[in-house]
């Protein structure tokens, strides 16, 4: 039952339809970009295992449909997420305004201590830009969330974004773990169980400390 990884993190990509969630995920998991991508119906996920400070971290990244109508279905998959990427399109004002709604949506459906990050995608399309980088940064400060501009097309900051989110989750987890297990009592059991991880609506941190 040897595991090929030390941690399993469940991540989620949300944001309006067409902002580039699937493209970002495709860039990260396949390192490719496909202009003729199909819209996402329902939900899917991809896996990539990364190396983080000597630990193998398996990222299970869920990609949802963006259209509001499908939210009753897609929010069912928020449970157990440890990190959420909120994506908007820098060439689409509306998608930026909607980030606030998406944050509210997270508050209602994901666990309270989920790590969040805002991505302003399509930064390669400078000529069509509607949302400046400064406005993105401002919003991030307002919500105390990390922010980065990305381009799935030109592979700008996509790796960076996922590594940052994963590192934050790992740090938060280890901090919690340390708090509940005094230093001497710590065994080498950092592993999260690969199965059943994403189901319980309870906080993933509290479960980590049990392990």
């Amino acid at each position: 039952m040897a595991k090929t990884y030390d941690y399993l993190f469940k991540l989620l990509l949300i944001g309006d339809s067409g902002v580039g969630k699937t493209s970002i995920l495709f860039r990260f998991s396949e390192d490719a970009f496909n202009i003729s991508f199909i819209s996402t119906i329902g939900i899917d996920f991809k896996i990539r295992t990364i190396d983080l400070d000597g630990k193998k971290v398996k990222l299970q990244i869920w990609d949802t449909a963006g259209q509001e109508r499908f939210r009753t279905i897609t929010t069912a998959y928020y449970r157990g997420s440890m990190g959420i990427m909120l994506v908007y399109d820098v060439t689409n004002e509306k998608s930026f305004e909607n980030i606030k709604n998406w944050i509210r949506n997270i508050e209602e459906n994901a666990s309270a201590d989920v790590e969040k990050m805002i991505l302003g995608n399509k930064c390669d399309l400078d000529s069509k830009r509607q949302v400046s980088k400064e406005r993105g940064e401002q919003l991030a400060v307002e919500y105390q969330i990390k922010f980065i501009e990305t381009s799935a097309k030109d592979s700008v900051n996509v790796e960076n974004a996922f590594y940052t989110l994963a590192r934050d989750i790992k740090a938060k987890m280890e901090k919690k773990q340390e708090a509940s297990n005094p230093p001497g009592a710590r065994g080498g059991t950092h592993q999260l169980k690969a199965t059943d991880q994403q189901r319980k609506p309870t906080s993933w941190l509290s479960r980590c400390s049990i392990l």
């Binding site: 339809s17 819209s39 119906i41 329902g42 109508r69 279905i73 069912a76 509306k94």
Partner: protein, 646 residues
């Protein structure tokens, strides 16, 4: 249906029990041509009070028009449900009569149940099985339990499925038996209960009291699984109440030696393997039109399309009828008129949004958003197909225009993701903007609820799918439930765009045209889901797939599915379900077939089954329309097609 002269059978000749859908598999001394034909297995009482088991080929039987109950019909000798011999078959009558198989009960030595309780063999001579029957509707267990009302049997030690007739029957012995067999009621088989209740009604009231005391438990508490929707007739309910109060404390049933308890598990009948047909050909299609262009035999056309789809070369024509753009009875002249009118209507709607100026648009955010949503999806619709590939492809503009115009046509709905997937194959096939629009509108009409704002339609379908799966593939349904997947969300994409993402263009065209026929029942697309899942059952269960693996596996099935196999399986499952003795009203309602209690379906507007005032379907429903197709006799799809198997 050709109604036969209802000439009653001789008074003393009674059918005590009849079981439909029984195949004669083997019979010593009979020519091979007599075998594998379908018929009815009965327990009959002769005028001299002797009894026998009798099998009659179907072509000897016509059924009274009020005998709607196709499965497990219990013949009540007092009642009206009597099978009568058809009057118009006199020429073949003698030949057919010769094919009747009779086994006198006082000669019967042993009988045996095998093959998952679907096969029964009889012997009147030790060491030889003279007759073998195959039960296509459910299994032999009900027949065995009925038979044991007339015989005293014991099981052989070495074979639990072989019964030895201990004593020939006499009425008193039958009545004196402790009703040990009534333990069969511990299962949820309301049909069995109902069957026996009807049968008991024929017997002296007193002798049945004990039985009813046992029965009441079942009738009142035993069928929660069926939502308690199944009514026992008032008369019987009355009887049950009386017997319950009279014999409240006598519910313990002793199991006398020599009588074994038979338990009837609600198993599905075997799944028939129904071959697919060849597509509706140009010649056939042309042959089905009268000189003015009206399509005759609409039901027949639909049957053929259901069975084999449509030849590609005539799809552009046939689809317009299937999608309610052209009425089936329209003449060439009518069609020209319709085309003209619909073209004008389309372009006037198109003009409505086309005439919005840029300035207007800048102050009309809702319109802008709608337009950009459509644009985004059009740019992501089947771009790998040559028809939609490449930059500035004009076909993308047509997609865009049709979808925008549809948003004017159905303003409340607007544009919802998934619609571009629905439209793409239509435009690819029809080429023409106006035709594609109206066919798209017709298709949307069939699946409007998929796009409800609150997704109520999708949720309802996912729930119905779960219910169908629970009935048809219970072990898989159980597995899903243990993996937090019983909400069936992993089938969301399948249902939203009717499997568009799961098949190639040519396969999706085949699947859609089959589904558009509305045959053989309502919600057949849900049975397509069940068929796909059924094929994956072993992988999902034996691999102990969890929540995420199930979703992944199902998503990855895309483009790996065999359309013909799935259609054939789905039809097989349909026949399994409707022949199941324990078919619940819940399932009947989903499939749009009349409920057992003959009540109106919950929402009659949802189903197009014509109802007479007594709640029974019109005779059209029961008509035995048979089509000759590729040398195969195919009966109307609402009925079983066992004929294919013979």
């Amino acid at each position: 249906m050709s109604c036969s002269s209802t000439e009653d059978l001789p008074e003393q000749y009674k059918e005590l029990f009849t079981q439909d859908g029984v195949l004669l598999k083997a019979c010593i001394g009979r020519p091979i041509s007599d075998l594998n034909s379908i018929g009815m297995l009965c327990i009959v009482q002769n005028p001299d009070s002797t009894k026998c088991i009798e099998w009659r080929p179907n072509d000897l039987i016509t059924i009274d028009s009020d005998t709607q109950d196709q499965e497990w019909a219990v013949v009540n000798t007092i009642g009206r449900r009597q099978r009568t011999l058809s009057g118009n078959m006199t020429s073949d009558y003698a030949a057919a009569r010769a094919r009747i198989v009779k086994i006198p009960l006082d000669e019967l030595k042993t009988f045996k149940v095998a093959r998952n309780s679907q096969q029964m063999q009889f012997s009147t001579k030790p060491g030889i099985w003279q007759n073998t029957f195959y039960f296509q509707h459910g299994n032999a267990e009900v027949f065995v339990s009925q038979l044991k009302n007339h015989l005293k049997t014991a099981k052989t030690r070495h074979d639990r499925n072989t019964y030895v007739v201990v004593e020939p029957n006499t009425e008193s012995q039958v009545l004196n038996r402790s009703f040990a067999e009534l333990d069969i009621f511990t299962e949820n088989t309301t049909d069995v209960v109902w069957g026996l209740v009807s049968n008991f009604k024929q017997r002296p009231y007193e002798t049945t009291m004990e039985a009813f005391s046992k029965l009441t438990d079942i009738v009142y508490y035993g069928n929660e699984g069926l939502n308690g929707q199944r009514d026992v007739s008032d008369e019987v309910a009355d009887l049950l109440t009386k017997s319950m109060s009279a014999l409240e404390d006598s519910t313990s049933v002793t199991k006398t030696e020599g009588y074994e308890v038979i338990s009837v598990k609600p198993t599905l009948p075997p799944r028939p393997c129904i071959p697919r047909g060849t597509p509706l050909s140009t010649e056939k299609w042309e042959g089905l039109q009268d000189t003015d262009g009206r399509i005759l035999e609409v039901e027949g056309v639909k049957q053929l399309i259901f069975r084999g789809g449509v030849a590609h070369s005539i799809r552009h024509s046939v689809w317009k009828y299937l999608l309610d753009y052209y009425p089936w009875n329209a003449t060439h002249a009518d069609i020209r008129k319709i085309q003209k009118k619909k073209t004008e209507e389309y372009f006037s709607m198109k003009l409505q949004w086309r005439s919005i100026t840029e300035k207007q648009e800048s102050r009309f955010s809702e319109y802008r958003e709608r337009k950009s949503l459509v644009e985004k999806d059009v740019n992501r619709t089947d771009r790998t197909h040559p028809f939609f590939a490449g930059d500035n492809n004009p076909n993308l503009m047509v997609l865009q225009d049709i979808l925008m115009t549809y948003a004017m046509y159905n303003f409340d709905l607007g544009y919802v993701q998934g619609m571009s997937d629905i439209l793409a194959p239509l435009l690819l096939l029809l080429g023409n903007e106006v035709d594609s629009f109206w066919c798209f509108a017709g298709f949307m009409e069939k699946i409007l609820s998929n796009f409800d704002i609150d997704q109520a339609g999708m949720k309802q379908q996912l729930l119905n799918l779960q219910q169908l799966l629970t009935f048809a593939v219970p072990d898989l349904a159980k597995h899903l439930a243990t993996k937090d997947s019983e909400n069936m969300y992993f089938c969301f994409r399948w249902l939203l765009v009717w499997f568009k993402r799961e098949f190639s263009f040519s396969d999706i065209m085949r699947l859609w045209e089959v589904l558009w026929t509305g045959l053989p029942c309502a919600n057949f697309h849900l049975l397509i889901c069940v068929a796909i899942l059924d094929a994956e059952k072993d992988v999902l269960i034996s691999g102990d797939y969890g929540f995420t693996e199930i979703l992944k596996h199902v998503n990855d099935l895309s483009m790996c599915l065999d359309i013909d196999k799935i259609l054939s399986t789905a039809e097989g499952i349909y026949h399994q379900l409707i022949s199941a003795p324990h078919l619940s009203d819940q399932i009947r309602i989903i499939l749009g077939i009349p409920t057992a209690s003959n009540k109106n379906p919950e929402d009659p507007s949802d189903t197009d089954i014509p109802e007479q005032e007594n709640g029974k379907p019109e005779s059209r429903e029961m008509e035995e329309v048979t089509l000759e197709y590729n040398g195969l006799q195919i009966s109307v799809v609402t009925k079983t097609v066992w004929a294919l198997l013979a």
